[in-house]
Symmetry: D2
Subunit: 104 residues, 4 copies
């Protein structure tokens, strides 16, 4: 069991410049997965065990490849031993250090 943060963005290259339809489908999968997440303007961040978060990414991929011939996916993983609840804590920690609210 290894808790990680995993940020990812996944888009077709083959289906034109508007990819919102495909992103929405992925978010439907993410939202129903039971894995905690946050959506931002460039991607989605998951927090959970390595197998669970990569499992969600794979589900999104399997759905997208049904009608997309080329797909690009960027993933970033941040592991810190023993850390949990970082989806909440990291932004607050930066704000606390600076003593002010930031745009989130």
């Amino acid at each position: 069991m290894s808790m990680v943060l995993l940020g990812f963005s996944m888009s077709p290259l083959s289906n034109g410049e508007g990819v919102g339809k495909y992103v929405a489908r992925s978010l439907e999968i993410v939202d129903k997965s039971g894995v905690d997440y946050r959506l931002n303007p460039m991607g989605t961040i998951l927090e959970g065990d390595w197998n669970d978060v990569f499992g969600v990414v794979k589900q999104c991929f399997e759905r997208m490849k049904k009608d997309c011939n080329r797909i690009s996916c960027s993933i970033k993983v941040d592991y810190r031993k023993g850390a949990k609840g970082r989806l909440h804590a990291k932004v607050m920690s930066v704000e606390k250090r600076l003593g002010k609210k930031l745009r989130t």
Copy 2:
């Protein structure tokens, strides 16, 4: 003039596992830059002209290298012709397609 979204995360590899101090300094620079941004648990997203957003990233790097011997920085750029205000619009667009609020 090319409006882009630029997401980035920048950390020292040389200064131990807790990098919050360095991230906070970067956010101080971002927050004062005048460039619109959103902070998330794995990085910061800027919206602006190519030169302006890369200028902010460079300022963060210049500050960090004063006391960090090794630095890793990931950057992702998303350009869409004629698009503006995507820092606000992209998340709402996904929520609208799905007809529900997502975690942000």
Copy 3:
């Protein structure tokens, strides 16, 4: 079965600025995995089925977390329906278009 290219780089943030020892261990795992790969100055590119290539990344992670308290990992996946042998073909294809050898 989905053949993909997967490029990744994985480093500890917690173990000082020289990370060669940890990278070498990962390459030992990659080289013995049976998955086709190419090492470059910033990472390693694997070609294979989704499950196989992500399995190799997970093995590298499991090894690294034995003695690294914080780990950062960037992954990029490029899927193209029906494509194989892209580890060889992509560089040659660019050279062919330009009609000259490039630095590789």
Copy 4:
């Protein structure tokens, strides 16, 4: 003056699944730039001063946006104080540690 390694990949999302034509144009710019580089199956790695390497990326972007309405670009920067010639040295260093040739 800050010598860095910069790896990048830049593709249109708006111009269909085959992006070789656009990649080839970028490599023409890279190859003529005078900046040292290595092409690999998923991107190009530049070595040089921060301003020079980001200047090359910007030139590639300016060219691509002439006929691509949506562009995605991933960049990774690795800075290590005082280090040079890493385009050559990093792969050899891993091979030396393992005492064998790897696939490159």
